[in-house]
């Protein structure tokens, strides 16, 4: 412990040196910007900046690139809250309650809570990264295809458990999402599925165009269809800060989101997206007022926004401790330090203490910078809501289209956004939730691949899922969840979900 503190002290002397401070700042600013722009996520930002880091040394390069990564998690909530367009995929869940808060005139509070939650999660998870990196990374490697399959199945069950309103409807939406996720090359055999000769569809439907379409475009279409335009929200300065009550409601969700996000972040894959989904589900489950979710629950913003931030630190655990990239973003960051002749791998921490501890310390510093950068911006961003809708909506559409195009420089993605936008509008009219669709699209390729990989490993024997302890435990948890649900269903008939659905119907009349 004392040694860790000593190392950290040395790290801070690196992180607080003016050049490192400067590059951390640049990274944080760029990260906030790519987070705010829908579509352009941290991966695009980091890739664009990668060549610029060739001229720097390894520590400066990784400090700047990491700044972009966690900076984007701060910025991502902005458009979700203000316009219901996820700034990047990990902010999908924030669209639901963040936007609902904005409609109630609490946009400033939502933005401030997202920023503070991100800060707490960012800082808290670095402690985890520092203390637990090597043992956790080894544990994460034990997650092979069967463990992932079990994890994703559990995720879907949790989703079903958390749904408000009709469970049938939300399971139907999750199924729709899973089906949409089937589009693309079959990873096991190389067949194109549902591509109809469009090469771009070989990669499947991207999460970003689908999410921006289902949330953002659908929202605009729905508003445009109303007989009277919605009232323009005029936020007042004194309403920008969260109330005491709102702070109290966000405390535990932030803490839970931090721990959850970090743990999920360690696992390879698009962890920051899944972390935010799981956190939302957990908060809804834990909440004493689950009926508020979807109508501006503070916890629905605080939890996921904290989780996606601490997932970024989690993702760096296998990267720094083992030299194994846990996703595309850490892969680019590894490439950036390899270009400078630093070999990533299990020996990195010993051989490059200056880089490792300087990097850790710079993340503490960067999170402080981001908080200072983002809180005053809240006042600025909220003013967007003052723009009258006839100007605001076309501008948002342009903004969303540019962002979605920029992800892969692909016009096909823009079409996907528009078509899913129409679909989202239709589903809203029919009273379906769209968040499960997005979760389905995220999970389908992952679940399918890991399931089929597992069966390839076991030569087709399903026993592999119960023979391996981690997979078996996860599946048992899922089964328990189902049984618990059945029990309360049989015993009470009407639980909170049904009551909530009734309340919603009353509201609709």
């Amino acid at each position: 412990m004392l040694e860790t503190l000593g190392n950290l002290g040395a790290g801070f002397s690196v992180a607080l040196s003016p050049p490192i401070l400067f590059y951390a700042f640049v990274g944080c600013v760029i990260g906030t910007l790519v987070g705010v722009l829908p579509g352009v996520g941290p991966l695009a930002g980091i890739s664009l900046l990668l060549p610029a880091t060739f001229g720097l040394d390894a520590t400066r390069a990784i400090v700047m690139l990491a700044g972009i990564y966690y900076g984007a998690m701060y910025g991502g909530s902005t458009t979700s809250i203000l316009m219901r367009i996820p700034g990047e995929a990990a902010s999908v869940m924030t669209c639901i309650d963040g936007y609902a808060m904005a409609r109630k005139g609490r946009a400033g509070a939502a933005l401030a809570i997202a920023a503070v939650g991100s800060y707490v999660a960012g800082t808290g998870s670095i402690v985890g990264l520092m203390a637990l990196a090597p043992p956790l990374a080894t544990f994460a490697l034990r997650f092979g295809p069967p463990e992932y399959t079990a994890l994703y199945v559990l995720g879907l069950l949790v989703l079903a458990y958390m749904s408000s309103g009709s469970m049938v409807k939300s399971l139907a939406m999750a199924a729709l999402g899973l089906l949409l996720g089937m589009v693309g090359i079959d990873q096991m055999t190389g067949y194109f599925r549902y591509a109809y000769g469009v090469v771009e569809l070989g990669d499947g439907l991207g999460v970003v165009p689908v999410a921006v379409g289902l949330f953002g475009v659908a929202e605009i279409l729905a508003s445009a269809g109303q007989p009277a335009p919605p009232e323009v929200i005029k936020p007042r300065m004194r309403e920008l800060l969260p109330t005491r009550q709102e702070w109290r409601e966000s405390g535990w969700p932030i803490a839970r989101g931090t721990v959850l996000g970090f743990l999920i972040g360690i696992l390879p894959g698009s962890a920051h997206i899944i972390a935010s989904f799981v956190s939302y589900a957990v908060e809804k489950r834990w909440s004493r007022h689950p009926e508020q979710f979807g109508h501006g629950a503070v916890a629905g913003v605080a939890g996921p926004e904290s989780a996606n931030n601490s997932a970024t630190s989690g993702a760096m655990v296998p990267m720094l401790a083992l030299g194994v990239p846990s996703g595309p973003i850490p892969a680019v960051m590894l490439a950036a330090i390899m270009v400078h002749g630093v070999a990533p791998g299990p020996l990195l921490i010993q051989q490059q203490p200056q880089l490792f501890w300087g990097f850790i310390a710079s993340m503490y510093v960067g999170n402080v910078m981001l908080l200072i950068l983002n809180l005053p911006l809240v006042g600025l961003f909220v003013n967007i809501l003052r723009v009258p809708y006839p100007y605001l909506y076309p501008a948002i559409l342009i903004f969303a289209t540019l962002g979605v195009y920029a992800v892969n420089n692909s016009v096909v993605d823009v079409w996907i956004m528009l078509v899913t936008g129409l679909l989202g509008w239709l589903l809203r009219k029919l009273d379906f939730e769209t968040a499960p669709v997005v979760l389905g699209v995220v999970l389908a390729p992952l679940l399918e691949l890991s399931l089929r990989q597992s069966l390839a490993m076991s030569d087709g024997h399903y026993g592999i899922f119960v023979q391996r302890p981690i997979a078996a435990t996860l599946l048992a948890a899922g089964a328990a969840l189902v049984l618990l649900n059945l029990y309360s269903f049989v015993r009470r008939g009407l639980d909170w979900r049904a009551k909530l659905a009734l309340a919603e119907k009353g509201e609709a009349q």
């Binding site: 990668l50 990873q187 190389g190 090469v199 070989g202 390899m338 791998g345 892969n408 691949l449 490993m457």
Partner: protein, 327 residues
Amino acid sequence: MRQGVVTLFTLLALVTPLAAMAQEAYPSRPITLVAPFPPGGVADLTARPVAAAMEKVLRNPVGVVNKTGAAGAVGMQYVAASKPDGYTLLLALSSISIIPEADKVFDRPPAFTVDQFAPIALISADPTILVVPADKPWKTAKDFIEDARKRPGQISYSSSGIYGTLHMAMELLSHAAGIRLRHIPTPGAGPALTAILGGHVDALASGPAVVLPHLKSGKLRALAGWGDKRVAALPDVPTFKELGYPDAEFYIWAGVFAPKGTPEPVLAKLRETLRVAVGEPEFKGAMDKLETPIVFKQGEEFQKFFDADARRLAAGVRKVGRVEDKK
């Protein structure tokens, strides 16, 4: 308003022939080098220093654009279909020869064909090497192959995806040695490495640079390489050729291509540019750090290498065939 539009079109009409004339002195505007894979991969990491070095030689901007998707097919198709004027170039990997063959296997119209490209120069070629977890019993490639003969379909390996480079390398070996292994495809070279480090598969064919740190730390063991010669960083690891499997030859290579029909003077200029560019100390330094040896071939020499490689891979893809047909 209408007046404005008319003026705009008139201006465009005037400017277009000017642009065409300006092309006489190639290059007169920025060149795009398309990397058909996402940032951080071999194609991207090679493309960036190549572009930087070309820019210096040509004194003209050369930008890298990642046009990714469908295992590289999207970017390759894009370049194949773009104007053959030397302003859109492709940095391709071995998969350029694999994708059209795989399309044939599935009877689908190919996204592009190999003869839609004019090869300019080969930049690097790195043989794959066979690695296994250090706790596995096989000490040599011979042990591995003999065990695989005894237990057909039992020893598993991860790859960068079906018909991907790491899959093809293993298939070429399987056919050369007459063994059958169990294939576990993953979405890329990174996840394939994670799978073997986590102990979920028994073997992996990988580029040397990626596994070197793990060989040094003692987590993995290298058994043999697919190259014509031994890998410089691993002098003790034999090649399959030495072991009596000359057909198990495979390289992860990177080369620059232009669309077919690019005027010969432009191609000549590009060949010359790349020849000078690979000699730039900064370029050498960048490739050194990636532990990727520069193997420069152009003109006839590259064409010969390319043809031989394409033949080997085409035969490999045909032998694999459609995956489920084998059962």
